[in-house]
Symmetry: C2
Subunit: 241 residues, 2 copies
């Protein structure tokens, strides 16, 4: 059933076997895995083979490492539900029995560059709110987000409001109701900034989600770019036909 | 505006600059980029720096390499639209001015393992159709897909039918209408099988989309796992609130 079971490289066999042991519950979340030496013996393979398998398992989010302590089994990934009835981030995370938090890194007013001017149908150099946030789950940084909102529609946006739901605040404070979003989901590699902010290695694969949000009358109200840790997140999409 | 512009490593500056030149149309799709030596001179950086930048651009799908010929600018990524009004793969691709194709690698009847038995509410060892396909765009392999369908609902499924739309065939031939799908989108690294099938390096980041499809009465009719090349695909999600 596992596609990769058909792979023939030795480290893939080891990797698949460990995945099965995690899925079957033999290795339980947050417990320590056997050492590299123990895996070498168990599978009768080299240290390099075991290390490659463990590295891939870490990138794919099955295990995580603690400096000087060894390798542990991950909790389940955080599911991001992409449907038309979207619960807030905090509610989604809480429903999965995890602890959510949002931290505002900065909120400033910048001048629209040509891209933002076109996105919001404003003039170049018009003021735009730029909001940078990190979202955490169980104290681990999960997503790094830069959002832009035209200042003329959201004057006096304040930091505290942005530590909860931005869309709810837009509605309660500015009477702006988001009616439609168009999102693009891409795969990217972490650069230095993302690496620092999300506490992952430079080059780690991540999801990049670009969002354009619109009001009832079609006015663009937000443009954002969110980077999700690929090892911690997966997306759930429900469709009805 | 580009998040990675804030990065400080030299290769990221080079990478960002090349991305801007591609986006602005200075470097056009399918034309050859300057050589590594030319980039070294242009940016006054080392060969290693240029190589790292170009490697990342290739993984992220901005450029591609031709053996012995150099580096070329990619076409736009193939958009996969994830909304409730889904056009068929072929139609989506054709609408983007690209040439689609579907190839059936195998179609066989296997025995349900415990996972499939539970998914389809059948007994273990009951017959299940296993369908392996590759989808191409402009002759490039784009996605590798393994689908399972309970044999009792799809007896005599045949290869030719699977080279077009499976869901349309289910409807026209078996009177089975898919009403709902639940999908999980993950990030994985290519193993040897995926590498061979999709013509990418082992370890390349890919999207993995797991789908459960249901009929009107809630019966599970299909389980599939599709691996998409991360350098060639992005997903578009439209939501109305």
């Amino acid at each position: 059933m596992e596609i990769s079971r058909e792979g023939n490289a030795l480290h893939l066999k080891v990797k698949e076997s460990i995945i099965q042991l995690i899925k079957s519950g033999e290795y339980k979340p947050n417990t320590q895995l056997p050492t590299e030496a123990e895996f070498c013996k168990k599978y009768n393979v080299s240290r390099t083979t075991v290390r490659t398998a463990l590295q891939q398992l870490a990138v794919e989010g099955y295990v995580y490492r603690k400096q000087g302590k060894g390798t542990f089994v991950s909790n389940n990934k955080v599911k991001q539900i992409l449907t038309t009835t979207v619960e807030q981030f905090s509610e989604q995370v809480a429903m999965q029995g995890k602890k959510p938090a949002i931290k505002v890194l900065s909120l400033e007013v910048i001048q629209a560059d040509p891209f933002l001017a076109e996105a919001f149908d404003i003039n170049e150099n018009d003021p735009v709110n730029k909001l940078v946030r990190i979202r955490y789950v169980n104290e681990e940084p999960l997503q790094y987000e830069i959002a832009f909102l035209p200042w003329n529609k959201t004057p006096g946006l304040n930091k505290e409001a942005c530590e909860t739901s931005l869309y709810k605040f837009l509605e309660s404070h500015f009477h702006l109701k988001v009616k439609k979003t168009v999102e693009h989901l891409d795969l990217i590699l972490a650069d230095q900034t993302i690496s620092n902010q999300l506490n992952i290695d430079v080059g780690s694969p991540c999801f990049s989600l670009e969002t354009h949000a619109y009001l009832e009358d079609g006015t663009a109200i937000e443009y954002s770019k969110t980077i999700y840790r690929g090892d911690l997140v997966n997306f759930v999409i429900e469709r009805n036909y």
